[in-house]
Amino acid sequence: MSPSQQPSSPNPTHLKIRFARRFLRALNNLNITKTSPDDDDDGENRVYRRSRRVKIAAYTAMASVVGSRRAWSRAVLWKVRNRSRNRSLLSVRPRRKRVDCKITNNDHDHAKVFVRRRNPNPKRDPFRDSGQVLKLRKLVPGAETMDSWCLMDETADYIKCLAAQVEVMKTLVDLYTTT
């Protein structure tokens, strides 16, 4: 009995290429808007804000490449969207963030139906709140309310995508330091 079918894990090279494309596009946009300096910022604050924007662009690019297939990418995109909404002083529409495992129908280009095992009973889930697992829940976005199985699954995918993101960023840094 296989209670779950996984979406096929993305080829890492494809992942890197797609991430690189989106990240570069975002950096391009950042560069265009950054040309007007803020006079009320001192140097350090400006540097900090710029690096923070690059970091957010990186995480957003990776999350949007993965799309809504994964709970962690949904959580990242939701957080970023919420933050930008709060910043521009718009009213925040109440949105239900669904991070518990249920049957998800994905209608994006990777249209696959995958069923996650529903395990809300904490008695059957011995690892749910043990020490290391709690730390892991804080590190992986969107993982606070999952059961252990989904958490492990999300962590594995998150690590793969994060490692790919770091490699692409390293390549970019090397490229820009040499030219």
Partner: protein, 93 residues
Amino acid sequence: MSSRRPRSRQARVSRITDDQIAGLVSKLQRLIPHNIHTTHSDKVSASRVLQETCNYIKSLHREVDDLSERLSELLQSTDTNSAEADIIRSLFM
């Protein structure tokens, strides 16, 4: 029939849970860098794997911070354009 208690079903479900969690833990073990586990090869406890996973994720976050700082400094001087994207794609192929 009191013999048909959910106890057997519960035992079966918890066995499945343990096996699947063990499978995922071993999957995580393959993903994190291997140089940590040189002393004991396959008898690594789940808690150790989880701990290494947490450390690895934290180190990846730190690297992203550091790299984004360097990138933001480097981007001041250079301009990104579409030619660069093609260069990078050719780097990956």
